[in-house]
Amino acid sequence: MSASPLLDLVGINSYYGPVQVHFDVSISVPEGKIVCLLGGNASGKSTAMKAILGLLTPRSGRVTFMGEDITGLPPPQIVRRGIASVPEARRLFPAMTVRENLMMGAYLRRDTESVAKDLTELLDRFPRLGERLTQRAGTLSGGEQQMVAMARALMSRPRLICMDEPTMGLSPLFVDRVLELIGDINRSGVSVFMVEQNASQALSIADSGYVLQTGRIVLSGAASALLSDPQIRHAYLGKTAA
């Protein structure tokens, strides 16, 4: 890689109380790429996301974004630097309308006019949401909620979007749609870091990937290479799988 990566995690060790969750985890997200972090439940995927977003400060190691050390910064500071997130289980504001949820994405932006423009554009991209602008987000279906969560992240005009299990709990139809959208988003110039359980699907759109197992990176490389690596299948369907 020529330039330094957009996002760089170097030697992260994090803990929940006395329990160590990460052991020397290092991950790079180059500008303009999709990178996915794979792993089973409780492998430490979501915690990695938290370390990036400032929701948890690793005990050692460094997180840099655009060459700047952002380790331990509070979440608003991190959003301000151009990282948006699509949290696990969407985490919409259920009692707020879809429009209000989207506007929360643009919370730190002061350019009211272009925010309005972005909103119109986004609604073109997600016509479903246009129909439901005044509906409470909590009453949407899972797939629709995922759309809102992604659109909300885009409203901040991020350079990097971090997605935590974007296809979790979605019907196959929506999984396709979400993956397509992630590709679209990436093509529009936003880098994507996603945490996924759904390996093949994630790898099918990603440029590179990492596999995390009980807090350690056990495998990493180009997406195409990982796709054919039997270890992936083992990590999910077990070693006895054919």
Partner: protein, 276 residues
């Protein structure tokens, strides 16, 4: 034909806008180990909550040993011999390891809980203070039983009987949870991801414990992500996705069921072949 120990019919639970459990049918025979698998958010834990009485279904029913238990309170179900663990490990943080397990014996307390009509609680208070021989013997018996259960985990917990649960490692908390469930002497044991957060060695140990339990004839309903283990342990597997049942049957059959592979690994045909 023998009736199923647990029989679930058309069980459905909605949350705002989402159907977390959608018309699930399942029957578990005495002595069977049935696993429920599926990606995160498939509705497995909600299914457990509804069965164990923590949540009420919007439709459908649950029968235990032929008795309709739909919507009964969890404490009543515990009394009927239904024990469960929780996905995120709900130990009693400020209680010692031994006390955590002893709470598991609660439903079996007899000597100290006299059935004096209307005065039961009063009698229980008195007996707890006075502690006649029967009560002391019961407590001692339960205590040694709890210690025996903890001994199943080798020396993981035995040296820590007096330690508060909050000081334990994640894996040890899961063990305490399982020990607490066993202390109930359950007819049906429901385990929600008992190996979550455990490394390989720890997982193997847990698998051995579960296998040993199964060998004693205990009926077990298991939620688990580590499919290796599921394959080895289960008599049957139910796969869920998006609240639905997508496959049910013998472990290998379910694992290779296209819908299951799709749910786990994604469905585009080229990828599936690439993985396979």
């Amino acid at each position: 034909m023998m009736a199923s120990l647990l029989e679930i019919t058309g069980l459905t639970r909605h949350f705002e806008g989402i159907t977390a459990v959608d018309g699930i049918d399942l029957a578990v025979q005495e002595g069977e180990l049935v696993s429920v698998i599926g990606p995160n958010g498939a509705g497995k834990s909600t299914l457990f909550n509804v069965i164990s009485g923590l949540d009420r279904p919007d439709a459908g029913g649950v029968r235990l040993d032929g008795v309709d238990i739909t919507g009964r309170s969890p404490e009543k179900l515990a009394r009927l011999g239904l024990a469960r663990t929780f996905q995120h490990g709900r130990v009693f943080a400020n209680l010692s390891v031994l006390d955590n397990v002893l709470v598991g014996t609660h439903a079996r307390l007899a000597a100290v809980r006299p059935g004096w009509r209307g005065f039961g609680p009063l009698g229980e208070l008195l007996l707890a203070v006075v502690r006649p021989g029967a009560v002391r013997r019961e407590e001692a018996a339960l205590r040694s039983e709890a210690e025996a259960i903890l001994a199943r985990f080798g020396d993981r917990l035995v040296p820590r009987l007096d330690h508060p649960a909050y000081s334990l490692s994640y894996a040890n908390r899961r063990r305490v949870e399982l020990a607490r469930a066993l202390a109930l002497r359950p007819r049906l044991l429901m385990l929600d991801e008992p190996t979550a957060g455990m490394n390989e060695t720890e997982t193997t140990e847990m698998e051995e414990v579960i296998a040993a339990l199964k060998a004693t004839g205990l009926t077990i309903l298991l939620i688990e992500h580590k499919l290796d283990m599921v394959m080895r342990l289960s008599d049957r597997v139910l796969a869920m996705d998006d609240g639905h049942s997508i496959a049910e049957g013998a472990p290998a059959t379910v694992r290779d069921h296209p819908a299951v592979v799709e749910a786990y690994l994604g469905h585009p045909a080229n990828q599936r072949t690439a993985v396979a």
